[in-house]
């Protein structure tokens, strides 16, 4: 039961992108995700739905390769028009077979 090293990718985004982002994750190779809600402030002002829905905060445990794919895809598809923050870091995971 030695833990293995995976990437945890975290995405913070407008609520309106929820369905699209989770579908994207699946397509890019993630086997699962966890999604919470956060409020936030950043450099942009008004969000389309910020009085209806909060921001979403999506976490997904993936291999380094998939992580890179995800971050590249986000940059290409969303950064221009949407309020979206994404980052990744290494974590040690037990039960690694599930994720990569």
């Amino acid at each position: 039961m030695t833990p293995i090293r995976l990437k945890l990718v975290t995405i913070i985004a407008e609520h309106v992108l929820r369905e699209h982002l989770t579908a994207d994750l699946r397509k890019l190779g993630a086997r699962g995700y966890s999604l919470g809600e956060v409020e936030g402030e950043g450099t942009r002002g008004v969000h389309a739905q910020d009085w209806q829905g909060k921001n979403i905060r999506v976490e997904t445990l993936v291999s380094a390769e998939v992580a890179e794919r995800i971050l590249a895809h986000l940059a290409a598809s969303y950064f221009h028009d949407y309020a979206l923050v994404a980052y990744a870091h290494d974590v040690e995971v037990v039960r690694s077979g599930k994720f990569a």
């Binding site: 309106v16 699209h20 389309a48 209806q52």
Partner: protein, 327 residues
Amino acid sequence: MTTADLLRANLLSPIALSFALGMGARAVRSEFSLPKDIYLGLSIFLLWALGLQGGAELREASLTAIAWPALATLGLGVATPISAYLVVRKVGRFSAADAAAIAAHYGSVSAVTYIAATTFAKSQGMEPEGFMPTLLTLLEAPGIQVALLIGVVQAGGHGRPLREVLHEVFTGRTMVLLVGGLLVGFIMGHENWAVIEPFYNTKGAVFRGALCLFMLEMGVVAAARLGDLRKVGGFLLGFGLGMPLVHGALGAWVGTLAGLSVGGATVLAAMAASASYIAAPPAVRLTLPEANPTFYLTSALVITFPFNLLVGIPIYFRLASWFGGTP
């Protein structure tokens, strides 16, 4: 009643006062606000009640009585987004995406404005037709559809495909509760409706009381964005006040032509004059992501909504009375 009397009566209504209180709370920098789920729950109750009662009353209506008003409503659903688009694009010189985004909001309808107009009309002794909620559902979607189509064609939409997004409009909260409520209210029949009516009747204390709580939060929400007024500039301020008057006059006139009573024409006018801020924003955000949300949210929610609520509705009532020949 003079127009001044009407305005005063409207401003002293619990709905308007609750809204003003919500704004006032924000103005003194209070952190008061309704929990989000309570706010959502109230909106679900209000829409559901609206649908159910509409369905129950629809049983009484004849098809011929509805046909013309329905046609008039669909006409407004096509005309108002186009007029809004042209004004914002040609006069305001906004980008095609921004103009289409704003047009989607003004082509659609605000259910809360509808409710306020109905409440006002009834308080003036009018009886808007029982099928008005049906017209409300008819006006929800087409305006968004037309405006987004213009936007995608003119601005070369690099957002989500239109079809996918429109599905979300058609199956959104407002549509499920209104259309669903209409169906359920229609099918359940008079006896069943009588049992639950005291809870759902839109003239009753529960509905009106819940509406006050809801308006309190609407006031907070609108006031929280007041600061954005400075960002949108003078043109959108004028647009947010002038466009509803034009659309409202058009609605009152077309409604009267289609055979609606003064109460019905008032409500149709308010619907035409109102701008959606629930169904339209996410659809626009996904289809025309390059449009600036500050523009469309501020004009719909911060300018036009309070204007209609506090000042517009009595004016539309005046116009409808005038078109209807009962001044």
